[in-house]
Subunit: 278 residues, 3 copies
């Protein structure tokens, strides 16, 4: 069996419980996508309970969209406890670069918590890499999205951030990049329609959380599997969308459908994940 099929099977057999401290915009989508993949979500963000909750979980996902002073403390406490317990932690630095508050929170979390995976668009990852750069809201700077032309540069960036942080780095874009200091992958799945609905990035982080929760030893393959799965679902949803003449509302529904029906054979057959020479 293909390694991605193994990871998908592991999620569906183990049903990893994934703890999210995340924004209130896409939180429902994250919960439903986690269930669609085969995991089990729990959202809890109060300092009074996050350490206990993470103790029940197989992975922790921290997402700084709609950050507040209250949840910064919860993220810190949950992250430290997950580290102590050896549970994988996924960081989604949504909109870092857009405000000092997000920048300082991201910097503090990077200092205090050991992340296993950091996922962002190119401007977010570039911001973390350079301590510079700007982010227009939570969307990527469209000029700089990862494509064939800048794949080498973005991959090098991902490797640099991985070396700095010890985390596997995921850069989402037309081509998704997954890299650590030793190894890099390009995933050419997905569809531009995914940018027309909110939350595909947040959902991707949840899918990564499920995969690394099911098999924490296989960080890089889990990330490649997760991004392939999301991208393939984006393609399948678009194919179905054409047949029903729908728009962005239907697309969002079909994306969830695709994940809940994704099987290992389809994942293997359609995956356009390629290991890069570095």
């Amino acid at each position: 069996m293909n390694p991605f099929e193994n990871i998908l099977s592991a999620v569906r057999q183990k049903r990893p419980l994934v703890h999210f401290i995340t924004n209130y915009v896409t939180v429902n989508d994250c919960a439903n996508m986690t269930l669609a993949l085969g995991g089990s979500p729990i959202m809890a963000d109060d300092l009074c309970e996050v350490e206990q909750i993470v103790g029940h979980c197989s992975a922790l996902v921290l997402n700084i969209g709609t950050l507040s002073e209250r949840t910064v403390q919860s993220m810190l406490a949950a992250g430290k406890e997950a580290n102590r317990l050896g549970r994988p932690v996924v960081f989604d630095p949504v909109g870092v670069g857009a405000s000092r508050f997000r920048n300082e929170t991201a910097a503090m979390l990077l200092r205090e918590v050991r992340f296993d995976v950091i996922k962002g668009n190119i401007s977010e990852i570039a911001y973390l890499a350079e301590g510079i750069g700007t982010t227009k809201g939570v969307d990527a700077n469209l000029d700089a999205l990862s494509t064939e032309g800048n794949l080498r540069w973005h991959t090098d960036l991902a490797r640099k951030v991985s070396t700095q942080t010890g985390a596997a780095i995921v850069i989402s874009g037309p081509i998704d990049i997954v890299a650590d200091s030793h190894e890099a992958w390009a995933i050419r799945n997905g569809h531009p329609m995914m940018a027309n609905i909110t939350g595909t990035g947040c959902m991707s982080a949840g899918v990564i959380g499920c995969c690394v929760g099911a098999d924490p030893q296989a960080l890089l393959p889990s990330c490649v599997c997760a991004m392939s799965a999301m991208g393939i679902c984006g393609e399948l949803a678009y194919e179905k969308l054409l047949s029903v003449d729908g728009g962005s509302g239907t697309y969002r529904v079909l994306l969830m459908d695709a994940m809940s029906k994704l099987d290992g054979a389809t994942l293997t057959r359609r995956s356009k994940a390629e290991r890069l020479r570095i």
Copy 2:
């Protein structure tokens, strides 16, 4: 007319305004399900206004998913005010057993507020019953879900909690149980697919809120009606899902559709609510 048809009619004629203090994961689903049934939702959670808001309402629903220190105080104030005004209060102790914070909040609310209905899965109700037990996240311990084999035990548990609290008790599961100290019902409606989307439990509490808001004198029939309605909608949605070859995203949409189109005749014809000998 069947008593359940009467309750459904009452909701649609009176359009009860239902006040929710609930989690931000499924809050949109709760609002839309309330509207689909025929009620009118209002979500308000700040201590500055919850007492006034509950004063406009026919029922109050308290749900402790994504609880925070801030909303604990709001739940307490709203619950006490609803008691003072004689408005029915529904309690959904989401994830109780998973953290001291949830446990202590549930215990405090049970001490300070008189609940008319308490709805949970078996592990949540068992926790309340015993002051012991564990909850894996917000999902039920799958081994213990209410089925034919443990129906007697779970019904006795519900009756015990009802005696302790004075509330009608609803245990959701493959078989839903509704009981007070005098009377018990088993509802064999529903579909396993309901567990594949987030929020069916929260939505059920909202449906209960609408039914008891429309007819506060008929607590037990209202709960039986609400759980039957939800279960039947879960079945109808699954039947339609098969015809469109959809997944969990479509299922969620069809569940809402089913409630918005549910009529009294279908409710009566399909209800598998059975009064148990106790």
Copy 3:
């Protein structure tokens, strides 16, 4: 090209970034509707960052559903900063009249922030106008919704509030009214089914935010365009709903679909916006 087509084109070319401080019930719908129209949403509500975030944005939308003491301060700071920068600010006084907290917050914001657009149902706008009146939850007092019979009275009210506040006033209802002190419009688009799902009002405010963000000089035409577009999408969604035999869940999806597929020609052809003699 019709002026409404120009505004729709402007949104799709400029992709205005719209900052929302809004309730957690319909926030996902607001984000997806903004994307469906062609804008780009950013939700941020912490006092630590709202001023910086609004600095990146073309418009600000303040919505007081699920208001908290924390977000009141954020709304004030963001509103003042938007004023300072000359960015249009849209105010959606959800549920004003239902609690002192909402009333005092609305009054304070009206005192401290210069709004470019205020959008509400008739009871909300009447409350602002009179400092009296009552609001049943977040839904309009059904007896008083704007129809042919009270169109003159409601238009006069809108003009009065516009004179008091300097803002363009939008009253949503079976007939939508858009007015300032010089000019008034009636928009006879929309469908009653829009009231059966939560968030159509909040989404309308987001659509207004996109339109005024794309062309801040054309406030009144932008509001008329936005309300026409929402109403037309409500009609298109209902027409499609009939063909698929769906309910309120499907309707919500189709509403989003319709906006994502709306073209200028359809907007012009179907718009029932009429300038009123005043």
